[in-house]
């Protein structure tokens, strides 16, 4: 089946079995290795992408349903100012999640800050419940997100003025 969609800002076309999982399509056909294939049943969050601006799990999306949709993976997201807010926040908090979970965490934090620019601790924890990993302690993550929220707020303020 030939499918056309927008991937990281570019229109792409691919010939694929329609039921192929999106994660396999992105990793095998487009060589986008930032998203990881973890549990493949929607529990670990390592395969998180932005589908039409909303976080989604690419392990549970069949390829045929993404026709004419917009997909952003961590590779596309890292070119944005929004990514830099989170990167700076993580640096300030010395927060270094592992290579397996970091892309999912960053996209979920982005989604959280877009919806709620000043989340409290329980809102942060709730937003990250789908990104299970033992690589980093929760206090460092909380600090990273707090700093990221401040960075984003300051950037938006700068952009306005």
């Amino acid at each position: 089946m030939v499918i056309t969609f927008t991937l990281n800002g570019e229109n792409v076309t691919v010939d694929t079995p329609p039921e192929k999982r999106l994660i396999d399509l992105l990793r095998e056909d487009f060589k986008l290795y930032g998203l990881k294939s973890g549990c493949r049943v929607g529990q670990c969050g390592a395969c998180t992408i932005l589908l039409n601006g909303i976080t989604a799990l690419s392990c549970m999306i069949p390829a045929f349903t993404i026709k004419n949709n917009e997909i952003i993976t961590i590779e596309g997201f890292r070119k944005t100012e929004s990514f830099r807010d989170i990167q700076t926040g993580f640096e300030k908090a010395s927060c270094v999640p592992c290579g397996y979970c970091i892309s999912g965490k960053i996209l979920c934090i982005h989604a959280l800050l877009e919806e709620n620019p000043q989340p409290n601790d329980s809102e942060i924890l709730s937003a990250l419940t789908g990104n299970r990993c033992r690589c980093d302690d929760i206090h460092t993550i909380l600090n990273g997100v707090r700093y990221a929220a401040l960075e984003r707020e300051a950037r938006k303020h700068r952009d306005k003025t």
């Binding site: 039921e19 392990c59 069949p62 045929f64 026709k67």
Partner: protein, 299 residues
């Protein structure tokens, strides 16, 4: 409507390999959906895909396979509210219902929906999908049963509204006939002034322990005017006992210890008769029921 028909066989040298690719359909309206489902009554319907891809399709696809995706049907994602009802399209993502203010959702419905899986899964999972999981009564089933929601079932030839209690069969299947689809869920917006919801476990698959317990009640001038309790332990049925509810309705609040005992004993009996609940979860359910009785009249 878009559809794709891949070749059913392909040749590699002298060996012919059966192709496992699916035939896929993406209808753009309910009418198109009903038509294509009437033509392919054995097709698998994919709403959010979270159940299908985490369980049914987790290893390999059955073949031959027709999949109908509901993602392009805006009518099925619509949420409307009147004075008396909240009407939710069967394919409305859980998060779009949660985004309605907590105060506007009846009883502990918000807590139930907010407790489903993770935020990213809730972006994809749908209320209709949660109700239609075969053999397992998931999170939303108990609360919608207590709220006495009604479901719209449509096929290419007819349309009807049924009470949710008639939707679930005793063997765990849902009562959808050939070519029938769940299209809308109508939830009455009664004012329940007492509610409880607790969940243990993530979801009832892969041998995980699971309990989803909820209770709602109305109190008027210290009288318990309407009391309802139901729970699901990941089995095929929602466990709700109307005799216990009737015993308690009309009682003066707060309930004294002596007044609670017959209901507690009856509830214990139900737990003992339920085959698929572990001793741990059985004890949990009992304690939750007891806490709910204690809560009454104290709020």
């Amino acid at each position: 409507m878009e559809s794709d028909m891949p070749p059913s066989k392909e040749k590699h040298g002298n060996i012919e390999i059966k192709h496992k690719s699916a035939h896929t359909y993406i209808p753009g309206s309910v009418n198109e959906l009903l038509q294509v489902y009437a033509d392919h009554p054995g097709a698998v319907i994919s709403a959010g895909g979270t159940y299908l891809y985490s369980t049914v399709f987790s290893e390999s696809l059955p073949s031959p396979l027709n999949i109908i995706s509901l993602k392009n049907i805006d009518e099925l994602r619509r949420i409307t509210r009147s004075e008396r009802y909240l009407e939710v399209g069967a394919c409305a993502p859980i998060n779009s219902i949660v985004s309605i203010s907590k105060k506007l959702l009846p009883g502990p419905l918000y807590d139930v929906l907010f407790g489903i899986a993770t935020p990213t899964v809730r972006n994809m999972a749908t209320l209709g999908g949660n109700l239609c999981v075969p053999g397992k009564r998931m999170d939303s089933a108990s609360i919608l049963s207590l709220l006495e929601a009604r479901l719209e079932i449509r096929s290419s030839t007819k349309s009807s509204w049924i009470p949710i209690s008639r939707f679930f069969n005793d063997d765990g299947s849902v009562s959808l006939g050939k070519g029938e689809v769940l299209t809308r869920i109508r939830i009455p917006l009664d004012d329940w002034n007492i509610g409880i919801y607790k969940k243990y476990g993530f979801y009832p698959f892969q041998g995980m322990e699971y309990l989803s317990f909820c209770g709602i009640a109305k109190e008027q001038r210290n009288i318990l005017s309407d009391f309802r309790v139901a729970f699901s332990a990941g089995g095929p049925k929602i466990l709700r006992n109307r005799e216990i509810e009737a015993q308690l309705n009309g009682r003066r609040l707060p309930l004294m210890e002596k007044g609670r005992l017959p209901s507690l004993a009856a509830f214990q009996e139900i737990l003992e008769e339920t085959p698929y609940i572990s001793p741990f979860l059985s004890a949990r359910a009992f304690r939750l029921f007891r806490s709910f009785l204690t809560m009454l009249g104290q709020e």
